[in-house]
Every structure is written in structure tokens, then in C-alpha cells.
């Protein structure tokens, strides 16, 4: 009779413990937060000294034709095809830049290093990269700097001293503001919502949730957070968890926030299959391809991410400015063509700007 007793006790145990009151929303970390202003004004930044590297003996090519090679994590996927497109747009606009993309066919750091190494030997004026590994890529980038080649990162950084500048596609507080603003636009300032995340301890998601709470507390104090559920990076589990939230809260649930590119489409799927489109809003971080079906159906209005075309575009503009001497250590902003003035943060990072909101009007223009 051991088993029934033990199992029954196990089941009762589940219900007897009491959920602890938490200061922060579940799934948020305990790090300091820095919410943006409600009206979107740039946050006051404490100036950080420049912490990037410097090329040795780079020739002065100010205003002259330059050759840039772009080495993304891998080629052949929609995301990096979009960054390449942005780079070509910038090159065409500038007229004195020749940029080509070449990279490994798999996101493999060893292959990526080999590609960069080859271009250093061939000779180029600048290298753009999206690192497969921030530490492992650093030595080859330092070699490039030593040979007088400019080095600029985007999407995924290396150790700061191994490159001059990095284009940061989104900050935690920027994403957080876009998420909360988007959900409020659908459910109202006093609406209620739940969050589907990967795990409570996944670093990026925990940062975003902490910043979302700080921003909501400051700008929409009546907004009601119901709970956060974990769904790993598992699409069926995400779907099940979203279903459970819908079943548990009924009409009290007005919105779902998906924190991963897996959780967001799965939440949209749960809402769709429950026939609750228009009643339960879904907003989240996800890629356009995964969300296009739901956005085109009208079940999802906004998907939050950055625009990789703009990211590539900015990378080439920043490189041009760097070569022309228009961007130097200590600067607080840089001009980037149609994107206007971009802010410099964290010593040697160029912030792309506010996140991009994919909607029914633009989501079909992207393929990644």
C-alpha cells in the first residue's frame, strides 16, 4: 500500500503549498531596471568611456571608394539575407562603398573564422561580422585590426576590444516599452494579461520581463499582470500553457505576451483554435515568417522585433562614418542615412533605435 499513499500525498502536496507573494512579476530577474520615458524620450545615459579597439595604421580613405566584406553567422537564411539587403541599400545610397556578403553555410564559428581569415589575407578595408561565438571570434578580429582593417559588429557581438563599434539592434528597455505599448493599444490601460516565457531563469527573457514591469508600473499603473508561465522552447508545451491560461482566466484574460519566438506563435495558435481572436490579444517577440499566418488572419496585430534590413543598413553607414572620421571614440551619436541620428551607448555600441513593429501592413515584406 506504499504507492497509493505516496502518490496521493504527492497530489495533495501540490495544492497545499501557497504561492509566495513576489515583488516582481514571475520570470523577471533582480537586476536594476532602467525604464524608458512613457513618451519615448531617450533615457538619460551615463556616459561610458569608449571601450572598443583601434586599427593600427589604417590608411586614410576619407571620401574614397572602400571595400567591405560582411561575414554573418551563416548565409542562406532569411534573416541574414535581410541584413545583406540593408547593406546593399546603404552602399547604393552612399555610392562609394562596395560591400559583399560571404559566410559559412552553417552557424559554425570555425568556418566563420576561416572566412574572415581569407578576407584579411586578400585585403579589404573593413570587416562586418555577426559572431557565432563572442570569445572565439575575437583573435581573428584583432588580427584584422592589427592589419589596419576596420572592424564593426552587428547582431551578435565579440569582445569589445576586438572590434571598433557594434550595432546593437535593441535594448532590453526598448523592447519592453514596445511590448507593453503594443499590448496596451489592444487591451487598454487597465487591461489584464499573462506572459508565456521560456523559463524563469533564461537571461534575456528575465531582463525583458523585469523591464516590462518597470515600464508598466511607471506608465500604466492600472495594467494588470495575471501570471507568467514557463514553456521551455517547446511549441506544444507553449500551446498547452496558453490554453491552460485561457481556460483558467476565461473572460478575465485579455492579452497574452509571448517572450520567445516559440511561445508567441504557439500562443496565437491557442487563441485561434479557441476561437478567441479579437477577444484575447497576442503580442510578442517573434520572427515575421512564424507570425505571418496569424497577422494575415487578423488574430495578431503587432509582432515586436527589430528590422534586420535597417540593422544591415546601419552597419554600412557606421563603417563609412568610421572611415571618413565622422565617428570617433567619445562621440555620443552618429548619422545613419534614412535612420537619422543613432545614439551611442555602452561606450562603443550604436543603438539601432526603437524596435520594429511588424503589422499586417509590412509583415509580408520580410522573409525570415
Amino acid at each position: 500500500m506504499l504507492k497509493p499513499v505516496a502518490l496521493a500525498t504527492g497530489s495533495l502536496l501540490l495544492t497545499s503549498a501557497v504561492a509566495l507573494a513576489q515583488d516582481r512579476w514571475d520570470g523577471a530577474d533582480d537586476l536594476p531596471v532602467n525604464p524608458l520615458a512613457c513618451d519615448g524620450a531617450a533615457a538619460a545615459m551615463e556616459p561610458t568611456p569608449y571601450n572598443g579597439g583601434q586599427p593600427t595604421g589604417a590608411p586614410d580613405l576619407s571620401g574614397q571608394q572602400i571595400t567591405i566584406v560582411d561575414v554573418p553567422k551563416l548565409v542562406g537564411i532569411g534573416y541574414f539575407a535581410a541584413t545583406t539587403l540593408g547593406m546593399q541599400q546603404a552602399a547604393e545610397e552612399l555610392g562609394n562603398v562596395d560591400v559583399s556578403t560571404d559566410g559559412p553555410t552553417e552557424a559554425n564559428i570555425d568556418d566563420q573564422i576561416t572566412v574572415i581569415d581569407n578576407y584579411i589575407t586578400q585585403g579589404v578595408n573593413a570587416v562586418l561580422y555577426a559572431a557565432n561565438d563572442p570569445v572565439a571570434i575575437a583573435p581573428v578580429l584583432r588580427t584584422a585590426l592589427e592589419r589596419g582593417i576596420h572592424v564593426v559588429g552587428y547582431d551578435a557581438d565579440a569582445e569589445p576590444d576586438a572590434r571598433e563599434w557594434f550595432i546593437n539592434q535593441a535594448q532590453f528597455n526598448g523592447i519592453a516599452k514596445a511590448m507593453i505599448d503594443s499590448i496596451v493599444a489592444e487591451i487598454g490601460e487597465d487591461g489584464s494579461f499573462a506572459i508565456v516565457t521560456s523559463t524563469f531563469t533564461t537571461p534575456n527573457q528575465a531582463r525583458w520581463i523585469a523591464e516590462m514591469q518597470a515600464y508598466a508600473a511607471q506608465c500604466y499603473p492600472a495594467l494588470e499582470w495575471l501570471e507568467t508561465v514557463e514553456a521551455q522552447e517547446d511549441n506544444i508545451l507553449s500551446f498547452n500553457q496558453a490554453n491552460t491560461l485561457i481556460n483558467k482566466y476565461g473572460d478575465d484574460l485579455q492579452g497574452l505576451l509571448g517572450m520567445t519566438s516559440v511561445a508567441t506563435p504557439a500562443s496565437a495558435e491557442a487563441v485561434t483554435q479557441a476561437g478567441l481572436c479579437g477577444e484575447v490579444a497576442v503580442v510578442g517577440l517573434a520572427t515575421p515568417n512564424a507570425m505571418a499566418p496569424y497577422v494575415n488572419d487578423g488574430c495578431v496585430e503587432s509582432v515586436v522585433l527589430w528590422n534586420p534590413v535597417d540593422l544591415g543598413y546601419a552597419a554600412v553607414h557606421v563603417t563609412r562614418a568610421l572611415v571618413d572620421g565622422d565617428l570617433e571614440p567619445g562621440d555620443t551619436s552618429v548619422e545613419a542615412g534614412r535612420l537619422g541620428t543613432l545614439q551611442i551607448i555602452n561606450g562603443s555600441e550604436v543603438l539601432l533605435g526603437a524596435p520594429f513593429i511588424y503589422t499586417a501592413d509590412n509583415i509580408n515584406d520580410f522573409d525570415f
Binding site: P4, L7, L14, L74, N235, L237, T244, K248, P293
Partner: protein, 328 residues
């Protein structure tokens, strides 16, 4: 412990005692207790909608656990099952997108699944390589192959009519029918068919099975082939549940499936267990996951509870075996 149990159950109501002593009854009891307790705290837990969600939640796990239970009863294991589901789901989706008739997109994964696991069965049966080693190798091959071929891309734009798992005959989700009917069918087959019974014989005592004229080799290959068919069905349910196929598999999917089998009372030592138990266990795990949300408990409890269930079940299995050998 044995003495206490004997006294408690012996004599008074032996029939009832035997019933309660089966793992299936224990799981059913746990499920009933859970439903009553959580349903009292929050009546929405037992709403028709949530009951459907719970039954649907692990239906594909339960289907995969049927095959897994057979493999474990035969004294083997397959830890590549999670990766195989990923590969077969991707295969099914890719076929559908490229315009292959939908019925074939549903059936081809069953055939390919049976071929892959059948190959493992051959290695296990005739070359006598332990199943854990064979399936570990297969896991690496499948996982690596999947990532290289798809590059992690998702399959979208699936054709109309492909989403089997989203169909709702009589307003009940299709995966629930698969779970119920496949479980009943497999349970009857394992109990009454010659091959079904020989699986228990091979897993329980291979030497005795050989002496009674059962071919260990052929039985093991058959078990693996049948397992592959169930994996194929599970992969189609997995692939068609959402409108998008993620070409990666849920983390630790194989562990979840093996957990369902083991908690369902399938002895990891072979020879004992039923697929009814593994299906009950899969449903119980889904119900616990849902209940944690309904009573506002951290989902970390789910893992802890899973662990406790496994340990308790295995412990009970060992005690039961010890008692049986003492009787002899």
C-alpha cells in the same frame, strides 16, 4: 514493509487489494484525487474545455509511449525517440509543402519510422548491441542530420486539410481519439496475441522464452518495427497540432515519453507493464502541469513531481519483484 502490506490486504478483500495494487489503478486514483482537489479550489479546472486541453496536451506523448512501453517490456529502450519524432514531423511537413497528397504525408512517416527503428531492432537483436548504445548513436545521427538539413528553419504555408490533430470529430480533438483507441487496441494485442505475449516472455526471462520456442531475435525486431509505427503516428500528431512545424524537437522529449512508460508501471527491467498504464501516466503528467497553473504553483514543481513519481514507481516495482521472488 512486505509484512505490513500482506496483513493489510490479505484475507479481507483480496480482490479489491489486487485491483488497487495495479499501477493503472494507482494512477487513476491519483488522477481522481487531483481532479477533485484542484476542481474544488478552482472549478474551471474541470470545465469541459480544460478537460479537453488536458487530454489533448500529452496525447502525442501517450501514443509514442505505447511503442516505448513495448520496447521497454521487451527488455530494451529507445532514447532516440525524441529526435525521430522531430525528423518524421519535418519529413511530413516538407512532403505536404511540396504538394504530396496529404494522406501520404500522414502515412510515409509511419513507414520511415518503422524502417529506422526496425534497423535499430536488427542491431539489438542479431548483433546483440545494447539498445541504449544503438539508440544513443541513432539520436546523434537524427539530431545532427535534422539540424544540417533544415538549418533550423520552420515549415510554414502548410496546405489546407493537412492539420490532422486540429480536426474535431463530434467536437473532440482528433489526438484524443488516437490516444484512446490505440491504447485499447495495443493493450488487447499485447495481452492476447501470440506476439504480444512473447514480448513479455522475452523481456521477463529470455532463456525461458527461448526454451518455450519463442525467437528472441524476431520478437525484438517486431517490437522495434511496431514502436516505429507508433512514433510515426505521434510525429504526425505533433506536426499537425500547430499551423507551423518547428524543425527542432521539444527539449527532453524522449525523457517525457520514457517517464510516461515508467510511471505507467512498465518495469525498466523488462517483462512487466501495460500501455494502459503509460497512457494514464501521460494524462496524469498533463493534468499535473495544468493543475500547477490553476493553483498558482511554480512550474518547477512539475519536474520535482515527475521525479518523485519515477522514484516511487521504480521503488514499488522493486518491492513487488522482491515479494514475488520470496513467494516462489
Amino acid at each position: 514493509m512486505t509484512a505490513v502490506t500482506e496483513t493489510a490486504g490479505g484475507g479481507i478483500l483480496p480482490g479489491l487489494r489486487r485491483l488497487v495494487a495495479t499501477q493503472e489503478a494507482v494512477l487513476l486514483l491519483a488522477l481522481v484525487v487531483l481532479v477533485i482537489v484542484v476542481g474544488t479550489i478552482n472549478p474551471r479546472f474541470v470545465s469541459e474545455r480544460n478537460v479537453q486541453s488536458v487530454l489533448l496536451g500529452n496525447a502525442y506523448i501517450a501514443v509514442a509511449a505505447i511503442g516505448m512501453s513495448m520496447v521497454i517490456v521487451s527488455g530494451n529502450i529507445d532514447i532516440s525517440v525524441g529526435s525521430l519524432i522531430g525528423v518524421l514531423a519535418t519529413l511530413s511537413g516538407s512532403l505536404a509543402v511540396s504538394g504530396v497528397p496529404i494522406i501520404l504525408c500522414w502515412l510515409i512517416p509511419l513507414v520511415v519510422g518503422a524502417m529506422v527503428t526496425g534497423f535499430m531492432g536488427l542491431l539489438v537483436a542479431y548483433l546483440r548491441i545494447p539498445a541504449i548504445v544503438v539508440s544513443l548513436g541513432m539520436l546523434s545521427i537524427l539530431k545532427g542530420g535534422l539540424i544540417s538539413i533544415t538549418g533550423g528553419d520552420w515549415i510554414t504555408d502548410l496546405p489546407e486539410g493537412y492539420h490532422l490533430a486540429q480536426m474535431r470529430p463530434f467536437d473532440i480533438p482528433m489526438p484524443i481519439y488516437f490516444m484512446v483507441f490505440l491504447t485499447i487496441g495495443a493493450a488487447i494485442w499485447m495481452r492476447y496475441s501470440v506476439t504480444g505475449r512473447s514480448i513479455y516472455a522475452v523481456g521477463g526471462n529470455a532463456e525461458a522464452a527461448r526454451l518455450s520456442g519463442i525467437s528472441r531475435e524476431r520478437t525484438i525486431v517486431k517490437v522495434f518495427v511496431i514502436h516505429g509505427v507508433f512514433v510515426g503516428i505521434a510525429s504526425v500528431l505533433f506536426a499537425t497540432q500547430l499551423s507551423i512545424i518547428q524543425s527542432t524537437v521539444p527539449p527532453n522529449l524522449e525523457l517525457t515519453i520514457i517517464t510516461a512508460s515508467v510511471v505507467g508501471g512498465v518495469s525498466i527491467l523488462g517483462g512487466v507493464g501495460t500501455v494502459i498504464g503509460s497512457t494514464f501516466a501521460a494524462v496524469l503528467l498533463a493534468a499535473i502541469g495544468s493543475a500547477l497553473i490553476f493553483v498558482n504553483l511554480s512550474p518547477y514543481w512539475l519536474r520535482a513531481v515527475q521525479g518523485i513519481l519515477i522514484l516511487v514507481t521504480v521503488l514499488a516495482d522493486i518491492l513487488r519483484r522482491r515479494r514475488m521472488s520470496r513467494r516462489r
